[in-house]
Each structure stands twice: as structure tokens, then as C-alpha cells.
Amino acid sequence: MLFTSYAFVGFLALTLTAYYLVPGRWQWPLLLAASYGFYWAASPWYLLFILVTTASAYGVSLKLADLSGEQRAYLAAHKDLTREEKRAYRAGIKKRKWAWLLACLFLNIGILSVSKYTNFVIRSFNALTGRGLGPVDMIVPMGISFYTFQTVGYVIDVYRDRQPVQRDFFKLALFVSFFPQLVQGPISRYGQLSQTLFTPHKFAEKAFSFGLMRILWGYFKKVVLADRLLPAVTALTGDGTYAGAYVLAAMLLYAFELYCDFTGGIDIAIGVGEAMGIRMPENFDLPYFSKNITEYWKRWHITMGTWFTDYIFYPVSVCRPMLRLSKWSREHLGQAVGKRVTVYLASFIVWLTTGIWHGAAWNFVVWGLANWAVIMVSQELAPLYERFHRRFALRGKAPYEAFQVVRTVLLVSAIRMFDCYRDVPLTFAMLKSLFTRFDPRVFTDGSLLGLGLDGADWLVLTLGLAVVLAVSLYKLKRGGIREALYEKPPAVFYGAMGALLVCTVVFGAYGAGYDVTRFIYDRF
């Protein structure tokens, strides 16, 4: 059930209605039933996968909590132990906890890897050895990366004693399978989501209509803008036909398409939660207003970024071998190298993983590493920039900030072309053509009309993107637009909702001929 299917809209309407009709204590069980129904509709087989993940997380987290409890009780009962004895006891418990955690990680990351990457490995093996092994018919459960990450995060939090364990299997099952975020995130943390997920919620007009407004806004971006742009992006990046200035067009159009598609989907997910009084983490913070790529990655797909930081970057960079490596490098290779080695290595691993996570193809690996390279280079250049800024007193000046924003958008868009073109060599060739065969006339001579979009399409796109830009600027300068509309007479607020609905229904790119549209991110 895609967010953009009639079935989902109907399912959502039924779920929301039922949610406020049942007694408060039945609300979360209802959501669990709805989430399993949602997943079952995609394929009954998927349920098996999510049940294995849920059961393993449940069992292991209970075990981890028991071991921590055991440790606390033992230490409380044996206050007379020496420091060394305490240390030894703690180390023993930690070893057992680590074994359990590792088993759980192996199982869940293993399922994820096997289902998503088997064919990638076979293809790569064939390419390297010239053999012709056939692909394997694999079930790739919808949204498996998202729920696996979310669940693994919970187990690690329990392991770290940062999160009290959930002893109710069904509550944990709802956390794993909560339907709005199942397909494409955001990746919630248990500690945050559980605060509102299980509590009873009374119908509140403001929260409900804010949720609906956000859902409609999401559909507007997704159906009116992203899906309408799709044919042009597909045409531009299908092969090497459109080189030179077209590559710039492809970069910008894909930047808008991906933004509208991904933020639209997230707005629908978060809006569904809001309409039920459930708070999910934000996933975007106006990413295209970032002034450099590091900042961009703090503002785009935020929940993925923080997940990688907390569960991969930190553990990798502060593990003992890494600390020793850092110390050794400082002593033998000098301060300059020693200071960098941890950060370079750990972020290399993070970006490699991020690339692989985005897709089972070398394009994504290169994409991840390109991001890493750019971030490292800008990290190295930071002192230089600092001097430059101080010398010319540019910081805070609007034209210079605008330049930084445009530069960042172009940079991330260029890197992103690796996940757009067919393969890595083609991407390099096309990016090169940007400099060697740039002919700006394609923007003015009507060539863009030959990309599957006619003048009317471009008109809708231009107006729609102007609206998106205006809303973003408003958020940047003043704050949330919903709050501002809510302060106005009620007819204005509801009128805006109605306008969104009508525009989406009439100008949406859906229906016959458009059925192939899928959220770009549900592959991940």
C-alpha cells in the first residue's frame, strides 16, 4: 500500500476514525492491528520478517535488562568488594551482555543484508570474475532498512542502560511496525516515540487539523510536484543523451523532485502521527538553506544521520582499537595525522555504510564516498575559510550567504547524480560534460519541453515550487505557517486546507499513465 494509493487513503480514513471512536486504552492496540494489516496488505510474507525482528529484539532486550538488574543487585549486596573485584564483575556481565547484543545484531543486520544485498554481491562477483551466476529470487520486505534500524537502535539503547526495557511484547511490536513510518521513516528512537505512542489521546481539533494539514501538504508536494517532475528527470538521466547544460537541469530538477518526494512522504507520516496525537522526530530542517555540506547533512534525513552518528560513528571512533590507533599515530606520525585518523576512518565507515544502505549498487557506494571526501576536504579547508571570512568580513552578509546556499545545493546535487545515472563511469562522463559541453541555450530555446512535460506542466511546477519556496522562507524567517494560519479567522485556515486538497486532486500527477510512481525512498 503506497501512501499515494487510494487504498492507503481509505485505510487512513478508517484508522483515524476508529482511533477516536475506541476507548483510549484501546487506541494503541488498534494501531498495532492497523499496522499489521497495513504490512499484511503489502505481502503476508513480510509479517514473518517483522515478527522475527520483533521477537529477537524483545527477547534480547529483556535479557540485557535482566543482566543489568542482576549487576545492580549484586553490587548493592556486595558493597565490600574492592575496586578490582567490582571491575572484574562488571566486565563479566558486560561480556555476557555484549554476546547477546551481538547475536541480535547479527540476526537482524544479517536478515537485512541477505535480503537486500545478495543479488548485489552476485552481480559484483560476476563482474569481477566474468562468471554468469543467476540472480536469486529474494523477498525484500517493504521498509526493512527503516524498521531494522529503529529496532536495533532500541536494543542498543537497552544495552547501554539508556533505555528502560519494554516488557510488553505488543507495545514493542507496535514500536517496530508503526505504519506511518514503516515505509520510509523517520527513524524514531524508542525513548522519544514511546512517550506519545501508547498514551490515550482525546480528539483535539487543533492537533487533528494540524495533522491533516501536514498530510495534505505532503501529498501536494509528492503528487503535484515530485510525480510531475519524474518523467523529465527519468528522461534526462535515462542514458547519456542529455549532456552539458542538460546535466545542470537534471541536477536541479532531481534536487526538487527528491526534496518534494521525500519531505512529502515524511510530512504524510508525521502528519498521520500528529492527527493521532503521536509525536515523531523531524527528518528535515530546510536542508536546501544549508551553507555547507556538513550542515546540509545535519538538516537532511536527520533521523538517519543521528542514527549513524550514535550507533556507528561514535562506537567506531571511541572503541579501544581506534583509541590505540589514534595514540600510536600521534606518537609515530605526528599530531597532525594522529588528530585526524580517528575522524577520517570513522566517517569513512559511516559514509560507506550510508552509501550501501541507500542502495545495493556501486553507484551508491561512490555516492557515499563522494560525500565523505567533500566533507573531509571542507573540514580541512575550514581554517582557511575562517581566515577568509575574517579578512573580508563576509559572514552574515546576505549575498554571500546566498552564494553559500547555492554552492551547497549545487554540490549535493552534483554528488547525487551518482544515484541517478545508470552507472559510475556514465556519471563521471556526464559531470565532465557539464564543463566541456555547456550550452545555456537549452534553458531558453524550448528544449525542456521535449522531456515529457508540456507548457502546462511547467506552469504547474513553477507555481507549485514557488509555493514550496514561499512556505520554506516563511518558516526560516518567522516559523511554522500552520500556527500563523491558525491565528487567522478559521475560514482562512480551513480554506488553505481545502485549497491544498483541490489542487492535489486536480493537478496531481496520478492515475492512468502515472501508476508507476512510487516513493523514491521506499526502496531503501
Partner: protein
């Protein structure tokens, strides 16, 4: 909800519904010019008198029989419930729908579409079904007809299907927002131009000549329904050679009729007797008859029918006279207009493919 907010919410909701309703009226195709087949099914509901004879089927009925001739020659009040590529299950449900409004004495079904054993084309489905009045027949017709990518809700709210037409709206869409002009003559689609039949590709051998279960099931249901309502069902095959009507198909149609005690009439071998001249009586090289051919066929068929079944001559009954006089006038006027266009331009300009806007 706070006391003063809900009236605004309700007001906006009603306003949005109103706008969506208007948008739907505007965006649904009007089928007034050029491709008029999409208007046929709905036009039936404007009829003001009952019919003793109803034709059911695809283009092989609505382009080949002229009800006005049946009226003028025999006083038979007839109507053609046909539409483009009307599939057997659609014919069945249109029959069911028709029999809810009136009970004719005879129903004539053209068997050509039995060769289709499953749903075919979304576009043709829409042209046939959109015009049906809502009721159990329409619901079941949609469910039987939908191709894989179709959604019931798009029939319920056609705006969802046609919303994309905002880029190609024409004057017709505004002019006929609420009211449409009649495009047929008791269901008959008139063409006066001539394009002689020259020859057809040789028939290809098929792997299997057996009609599918689905069409035969619905044919059986047509027979049952007619029996139940006391209506005489007659099966025909229009006198058109292409798409090729295989002997094996003919045999199955005849066998079904014999088994059910129905009459089956294949008109292809009777063309000479009917007086059809396929160098002059067709407008598209033999696929369909033109108005000359349709009048000849109607005249012959009316005579054939009256030899077997006693159909009342309604001429002289004021209600019928009024309606049919009006129809005849419209029919004659359109015929004159078409002949005039052909005379002036050598082809039709405000009918058929040339008239499609844009």
C-alpha cells in the same frame, strides 16, 4: 472543536465539495464532437417513450441499423443500446439496466463481441460504463469490466480519472458543463460518407476457437433474464466480414441458440438479399455501414422480424408520433448536413475524426 471554529470547517468542507463537483463536471469528457461514442449509453435515459425492440451490442449494431427507418417503414419503436467495444458482460448489464426501465417485446443481441473473453481496454470501459445510471447493474458491470490497473473509486468519482484533462479543455467542456446535445438517433450513429470495401487481410488460423467462459456465461444470463421477463431474445451477426467471423464461432453461436431455443441469424451470407452494395454502403471500407447501408439493413430486418413476431405499429399513437417526428426531423437534418459537407469538402468535417478538437 471550539464552538466558533466548526461552522467555518463545515462551510469550507461544503465549499470544497462544491468546487470538486464543478471540477468534475468540467473535466469529464463530453464526447460531443468527433468521438461521440462516449455519449451513447447516457443518451438512452432521455427517451420519453417505450420501445418494442431493443438492440444490444457494439458498433455492429449502433452503426448498422437505423431505428428511424424501422419507424418510418413499420412503425416499430426501437432503440440501440450500444457502445464502442461493448463487451458481453457490459451488454448483459446494459440489458439488465434497460429492463429496469421498460420491457420490450424483442431484444436483438449481436454476437460479434463473444470473441472477447476478458476485460480489454480501460478507455473503452469508461466510454461504455461512465454513462450508465448508478444502480446494482452499474456496480456489477464495473466490477466485471475493470482491467488490472483500474480502480472502482475512479468510476465513483470520475474526477479522479479525468483530473489530468485540465491541460486540454475545449469549448465543448464549458458549453456542455450541465447539458449535452443528443449525438445519436435512438442510439444510431450516423455516417453518410462513402469509402468502398476493397478487401481484407486473409483470416489467420487461431489456436483455439472456443468462446471463453466469461462471455458465454453472460450470454446465458442474457437468455435467462429475457426468458424471466418474457422478452424474445434474438441473436444476430451483423453483415460485416471483418474482423473475420470464423465458421467455428458461427457454429458455437448457432449451437447455443439451438440449445436455448432462440433464433440465431447470421446476416453475412444474406447481404445480396438485403441489397447491400459494399462499394457504396460503407463509410470505412467495409468495417461499418454508412447511413444508406444502415437504412437498407433496417428495412430488410424489420420485414424479417415482422414475419416472425407480431410487433405493434405505433404510428398514429400521439405520444409515439410526437417523439418520433422529432427524431425523424433531427435525423433528416443531420443527413442533409452530412451530404452537404461531402458535396462541399469531399469529406465530413464536423463529424468523425476530422471534428476532433485539438
Amino acid at each position: 472543536m471550539k464552538g466558533r471554529r466548526w461552522p467555518a470547517a463545515l462551510g469550507v468542507a461544503l465549499g470544497v465539495l462544491g468546487i470538486l463537483y464543478l471540477a468534475q463536471r468540467l473535466l469529464v469528457p463530453k464526447y460531443q464532437t468527433g468521438v461521440v461514442e462516449g455519449s451513447m449509453v447516457a443518451e438512452y435515459y432521455r427517451e420519453r417513450v417505450d420501445h418494442d425492440l431493443i438492440f444490444i451490442g457494439d458498433c455492429e449494431v449502433y452503426e448498422n441499423f437505423s431505428p428511424v427507418t424501422l419507424w418510418e417503414d413499420y412503425g416499430i419503436s426501437s432503440y440501440i443500446r450500444g457502445s464502442a467495444q461493448q463487451l458481453p458482460w457490459q451488454s448483459y448489464y446494459l440489458l439488465e439496466d434497460t429492463l429496469r426501465h421498460e420491457t420490450p417485446k424483442v431484444v436483438v443481441y449481436n454476437v460479434q463481441a463473444l470473441r472477447f473473453s476478458r476485460p480489454q481496454s480501460e478507455a473503452y470501459n469508461r466510454m461504455t460504463i461512465d454513462g450508465m445510471r448508478w444502480g446494482p447493474a452499474k456496480v456489477r458491470c464495473i466490477l466485471a469490466s475493470m482491467t488490472e490497473d483500474e480502480h472502482f473509486i475512479e468510476y465513483l468519482f470520475p474526477l479522479l480519472r479525468y483530473h489530468d484533462r485540465w491541460g486540454e479543455l475545449t469549448g465543448d467542456d464549458v458549453e456542455h458543463l450541465f447539458a449535452k446535445d443528443p449525438v445519436t438517433h435512438a442510439g444510431y450513429y450516423m455516417r453518410a460518407d462513402v469509402k468502398p470495401q476493397t478487401g481484407f487481410p486473409a483470416p489467420q488460423a487461431l489456436a483455439d476457437y472456443t468462446f471463453g467462459d466469461m462471455p458465454m456465461d453472460y450470454l446465458g444470463r442474457m437468455a435467462d433474464l429475457c426468458r424471466e421477463k418474457g422478452v424474445e431474445l434474438i441473436l444476430i451477426k451483423a453483415p460485416i466480414e471483418y474482423p473475420y467471423w470464423y465458421d467455428q464461432w458461427d457454429g458455437q453461436a448457432a449451437a447455443f441458440a439451438a440449445e436455448q431455443g432462440l433464433t440465431y441469424l447470421n446476416l453475412i451470407p444474406l447481404r445480396q438479399e438485403i441489397g447491400l452494395d459494399m462499394t457504396r454502403d460503407t463509410y470505412d471500407a467495409g468495417l461499418h455501414l454508412n447511413v444508406r447501408g444502415a437504412e437498407k439493413l433496417a428495412a430488410w430486418f424489420g420485414g424479417w422480424l415482422l414475419e416472425r413476431i407480431d410487433l405493434p405499429d405505433r404510428r398514429g399513437e400521439p405520444a409515439y408520433d410526437a417523439v418520433w417526428e422529432e427524431k425523424t426531423a433531427l435525423y433528416d437534418a443531420m443527413k442533409q448536413q452530412q451530404y452537404a459537407e461531402i458535396e462541399q469538402y469531399g469529406e465530413l468535417v464536423t463529424f468523425g475524426a476530422n471534428a476532433v478538437e485539438g
